[in-house]
Symmetry: C2
Subunit: 347 residues, 2 copies
Amino acid sequence: MKIAVFAGDGIGPEVTREAVRVLQALGLPGLELVEGDVGGAAYRKHGHPLPQQTLDIAKASGGILFGAVGDFSLDGLERHLRPEQAILGLRKELGLFANLRPATVFQGLEDLTTLRPEVARDIDLLIVRELNGDVYFGEKGMRQTAEGLREGYDIMSYNEAEVRRIAHVGFRAAQGRSKKLCSVDKANVLETSQLWRDVVIEVAKEYPDVELSHMYVDNAAMQLVKNPGAFDVIVTGNLFGDILSDQASMCVGSIGLLASASLSEGSLGLYEPIHGSAPDIAGKGLANPMATILSAAMLLRHSFGLEAEARRIEHAVAKALADGIKGGDLGGSHGTVAIGDAVLERL
Amino acid sequence: MKIAVFAGDGIGPEVTREAVRVLQALGLPGLELVEGDVGGAAYRKHGHPLPQQTLDIAKASGGILFGAVGDFSLDGLERHLRPEQAILGLRKELGLFANLRPATVFQGLEDLTTLRPEVARDIDLLIVRELNGDVYFGEKGMRQTAEGLREGYDIMSYNEAEVRRIAHVGFRAAQGRSKKLCSVDKANVLETSQLWRDVVIEVAKEYPDVELSHMYVDNAAMQLVKNPGAFDVIVTGNLFGDILSDQASMCVGSIGLLASASLSEGSLGLYEPIHGSAPDIAGKGLANPMATILSAAMLLRHSFGLEAEARRIEHAVAKALADGIKGGDLGGSHGTVAIGDAVLERL
Ligand SMILES: CC(C)[C@H](C(=O)O)[C@@H](O)C(=O)O
Ligand SMILES: CC(C)[C@H](C(=O)O)[C@@H](O)C(=O)O
């Protein structure tokens, strides 16, 4: 049972450390944790944000626990050397095409969001975001126009196979929840979205039990403000998913608790907290490791089929929260290690 | 003084009618209102959502008052015949490149938003959205991949001249407000955004009094939830502006009051409420015409330099609101004509 641990930048190492302690405490037979360098940390050591040896560790693993990447002091580097390329590279190289981002308000934490409690209370949605295509991975570059002007360009595209496989993930997720799927696109402007919509409608025929709706992305951003509780499963492309899932996360108010999974067609997956590297508090022992600990639970569930162990972790976190163990991000005063200790005690 | 009036679809005609009554009541010397067909209404009459005669009326006018376009029953048409093409076509053909979308909470209406009143109260921002470029107007289409799969594609791009002119609009707007400009892009992934960011930084040198910051679009969507009051002027591209400006509008909670301007390099501009065609309530006399009336005020200000008249309209609307004249969208029970009457009385 091989798990790759890529801590990365900023608060990545400290939050990952606590999640690793939790994994180790479960007494999983044959557990092997293999660390690898990613992001700015990898660039500084190896001259590349995603060195070959890291990729090899990932490929040899059954699942990847990921901290965070991002380092503003490296913003001046060429794009392919920047920390963010580590996560983009892993997604692409490992075929991690399906990003599952649940956003659910934790009971007792309704007060943390800027939304009215009666609005926030109902939030329980899952965003299924495509991760391997769209304008992220199309041809891109700088060129000159006929008039000699600098121009930046990026090709957005999806083919039917790419849309079909993520649509299936969306429909299956909807089947396991309330059987409603909302596909978000911008088909009134984009041909990429038109193809997306056409294919989602085709796939829908295989899921007669799921009610499919379509929404333009600008309207989705509005409805996430107006009535986020009305959403259940949303399926969308890479770019719109990036924006909407971050918006939805913040609606929950406790971003330090939100985990995410990036899945391939096999069992290999990458699991990470949705918060970033938070350089402002890095190394101070202030970061809340709960989202990373919950990511480890997702890893056990999705990549190793260890549902019971995943639940044990989730219950321990929930108990710690109920007992008032809260990081600064949740209005509490518990530090990184103290929170890790508290979860371990309750495991 | 020639104003083009394009009422369009759904509630467009009824809300525009009230705004026209307000314009007529001002006793403006030489006022000439010329109606034109746009959107689904134009398609049904002329077979095209933006007929040549409509475009001619627009070009011969000093400013355009626009209602709304959109008609789901025409969704099956080829893209170039759909209602939305009217607004896209007008923006492009008339060089309306700068979309100004203010989002400000109206005093006394803080309770309408799903945000906590203490969060909503501070919202007073302006989104400056580029309207003539980006993935909206690049080459697009359906093609086959090498494996024979259907693929939709759209080219996203910006050249330095396009970025420069919208950046100037952003900086000048910031100068007239609190001298802070936030440029939103996705430079960690997109070359189009990298060029955008580079050029905005170049233009910033001409505005040493304005404090420039940069934010990734996903983070901007989060911050608009977390602390929308922290934003002042945001400048961004066509696609991100579409999403963020709708999100921001909904934060205000009273979308039936929000007007917008789309400006060219000259004085010609198009002015429209940001709400859509709302087919569900069309023709029932229920729509709130205030956003369209306020759009007419923006028209007088930006295209004709009639600041005093613009204020007269704005004050009349504010007074009507203060006197409890509210449409159903604001929790009131006043119909379209009753609201128009109320504003006229207070003019
Ligand atoms: C770091 C960045 C490239 C990445 C993305 O845009 O996908 C991040 O925002 C995310 O959502 O994981
Ligand atoms: C109708 C549509 C094409 C349009 C856009 O995407 O620009 C609308 O959403 C807007 O914001 O004015």
